[in-house]
């Protein structure tokens, strides 16, 4: 699960890369993906469509972020969630709820709870550890995903405290964007699948228009994450990353 944020971040920040002539080492591919996580700043508005069994709901938000250690998100709709703000500073996360006019810190096991009922947890939002640090990657072959040639990477955890014991990632051979990812339990059961659609090039960067997260154990259409607009290297006032900005 935590890779989703890492994926999203990498997808948003990836620089175009030229496909090497021969099959690179799996760790090398991961490092290139990790390298893409570093960025100065970005501001984007997004739409999260959560498909339940009977109905769907849409949550819109605007996010300002500096690197991957500071982020401020304000929810814009639906009316029930509008005005809710979330601040991430290093390893801490706070949420302000306008209905209660209170700011609470999300910590401990609360981090495992779902964000706005989606397939993403607060823990996923907080995750910024390097994939190369957590997994040992092996290139197992090449496959086409949505018409794009990809490296298929098998990732096995090298640390004990990772959320998923293994993953399988399909990385675009030219753009170094993960186009598909499967997350597995220790037993080998497929738990979640992430797919990226509508990859566009903006301001010289490749970024996804839509990411679909799906819990493979349950029925339902998963959660769609749609980037509506994005601005790279925008000027973000520093006071936005303070608790005072939540109210």
């Amino acid at each position: 699960m935590h890779s989703m944020k890492a994926q999203l971040t990498s997808l948003l920040l990836l620089f175009p890369m030229v496909c090497p002539a021969q099959t690179p080492d799996g760790t090398e591919i991961l490092k290139r993906m990790d390298a893409n996580l570093t960025s100065d700043s970005r501001v984007f508005t997004s739409k999260m469509i959560i498909h339940g069994r009977r109905s769907s709901r849409t949550v819109e938000s605007k996010t300002w972020s500096m690197g991957d250690r500071k982020a401020f998100t304000e929810y814009l709709s639906p009316p029930r969630e509008a005005g809710t703000k979330m601040l991430k500073l290093e390893d801490a996360l706070w949420i302000y709820s306008p209905s209660t006019d209170r700011t609470i810190q999300i910590a401990g096991h609360m981090l495992k709870q779902s964000v706005m009922g989606s397939d993403l947890s607060y823990e996923d939002m907080m995750e910024d550890a390097s994939m190369a640090d957590q997994y040992e990657a092996t290139v197992t072959g090449t496959e086409q995903v949505n018409g794009r040639p990809c490296w298929v990477l098998q990732l096995e955890a090298v640390k004990e405290d990772v959320t998923y014991a293994s993953r399988k990632v399909w990385v675009d051979r030219e753009r170094y964007i993960p186009l598909k990812e499967e997350l597995y339990a220790k037993s080998g059961t497929l738990l979640k699948k992430t797919e990226v659609f509508d990859v566009k090039r903006i301001d010289g960067r490749w970024f996804p228009g839509k990411i679909v997260f799906r819990d493979m154990l349950k029925q339902g259409g998963g959660t769609e994450f749609i980037i509506e607009s994005i601005e790279f290297n925008a000027e973000i006032p520093e006071h936005l990353f303070t608790k005072a900005a939540l109210r």
């Binding site: 699960m1 069994r53 401990g108 096991h109 609360m110 495992k112 955890a157 004990e160 405290d161 990772v162 959320t163 998923y164 014991a165 997350l183 339990a185 220790k186 037993s187 059961t189 738990l191 819990d215 154990l217 349950k218 029925q219 339902g220």
Partner: protein
């Protein structure tokens, strides 16, 4: 003694009026015993069931464990000490490991609590022997309420997902090897029971437990550092609270019943004192003191309660015997409302309950009989014997 004989003759002589009063009073009397017996029966049954299915003779909780806060589960477990293991082997303790998980019955996601328990335990009524079987997957038993809510049947396979001690996700299939019926919702709703060894292996918590259930005996048990002992009474406190609140609620009903019956007695007494003035005057003229006449009238009133006990016993005893042996079913299980209550309740009519109710009714009836009778002491006997209204 004279007053009692005379009062009895007067009452029987009054015929239908007396019997109407007695029947009304006996009805209140039977109703009060019936309702109290029902609550006492529920209390006894709930306690016995809770002890047999859940609490045992008390529990040792890991110091961080809070059953009302599932977020504490991940941090509330500790390895068993050699002493605890020894008591476990002797059947005096049963370790239970608790963690959170998710099951996906029919593709629906459902958050649950996974409880690991020794398959060979005999201390609790949970049918853990059904976990001692060889199946492809993890054997699990669930309560009928959980089975119904999750649409699970015996033999069903369902995917369960959990996190190990390091927070890494894992998933496997559990096989429902048994479904048990219990009146204790706290071991049924939203949880599955699997072998302790399996859960310890799944969560990487070898030889660890969240709580230890002790046997239901008075035998002394040592204290364990890092574990807090929860007395049986403390664990049964919820039942006591529910019964207390129910008792308070039904007390209003008793009061109304009793007040109506006492009002009837009071009215009868007022009417007697008013209409039987010649008789009162005659008693005094024949040498009875006013105090004795007041006593006679008070005994007459109080005797209604005694007759009501006899009449109530005539139809009440067969009714109580039938209900306490066959039980009363309201067609509603405590599981449906989340409290420990069997679908069929067996009322408990203790001697203490019957005697205390008789005592209260006799005293109350005598008291309300005395209030109008006091007026006699202020009467002029000459005027009374003439039948003049005073």
């Amino acid at each position: 003694m004279t007053a009692i004989k005379l009062a009895y003759r007067n009452l029987i002589g009054a015929g239908l009026r007396t019997w109407l009063n007695v029947i009304v009073l006996s009805f209140s009397f039977v109703m009060i015993i019936w309702m109290k017996g029902m609550l006492d029966g529920w209390d006894r049954q709930a306690r016995i069931d809770s002890i047999e299915w859940e609490t045992g003779g008390g529990q040792y909780w890991h110091e961080n464990y809070d059953p009302y806060d599932p977020f504490t589960f991940e941090d509330s477990h500790a390895p068993l000490t050699p002493e605890q293991e020894n008591l476990w082997q002797k059947g005096k303790l049963v370790p239970v490991l608790i963690t959170r998980g998710t099951i996906y019955p029919g593709g629906r996601m459902q958050n649950i609590v996974i409880k690991g328990i020794d398959v060979n335990q005999k201390l609790l009524s949970i049918p853990t022997a059904r976990l001692d079987t060889s199946v492809y997957g993890i054997p699990a038993v669930v309560g009928s309420n959980m089975a119904q809510n999750s649409r699970l049947k015996k033999g069903d396979r369902v995917v369960v997902r959990w996190r190990d001690a390091n927070g890494t996700f894992d998933a496997d299939e559990v096989v429902i090897t048994g479904i048990f019926n219990t009146t204790v919702p706290s071991i049924d709703a939203g949880q599955i029971w699997i072998p302790l060894k399996d859960l310890q292996r799944m969560t990487l918590l070898e030889n660890e437990a969240t709580l230890l259930v002790r046997d239901n005996t008075e035998a002394p048990m040592p204290a364990f550092a890092g574990w807090k002992f929860m007395e049986q009474d403390e664990l049964l406190k919820d039942i006591e609270t529910i019964i207390k609140s129910k008792t308070a609620g039904t007390s209003v009903f008793y009061m109304i019943l009793l007040l109506l019956a006492l009002l009837v007695i009071f009215d009868t007494q007022v009417l007697s004192v008013f209409r039987r003035q010649k008789e009162i005057g005659t008693y005094v003229a024949m040498g009875m003191t006013k105090k004795e006449v007041v006593t006679l009238f008070t005994v007459e009133g109080g005797m209604h309660a005694v007759l009501a006990v006899v009449v109530g016993a005539v139809y009440g005893i067969p009714l109580f015997i039938q209900q306490s042996t066959q039980g009363i079913s309201f067609g509603l299980s405590g599981q449906d409302i989340g409290i420990t209550m069997a679908e069929t309740l067996y009322p408990l009519y203790s001697m203490e309950l019957v005697i205390s109710t008789i005592f209260i009714i006799v005293v109350a009836t005598t008291f309300v009989s005395f209030i109008p009778a006091r007026k006699i002491s202020g009467m002029n006997p000459t005027e009374a014997i003439k039948g003049k209204i005073q």
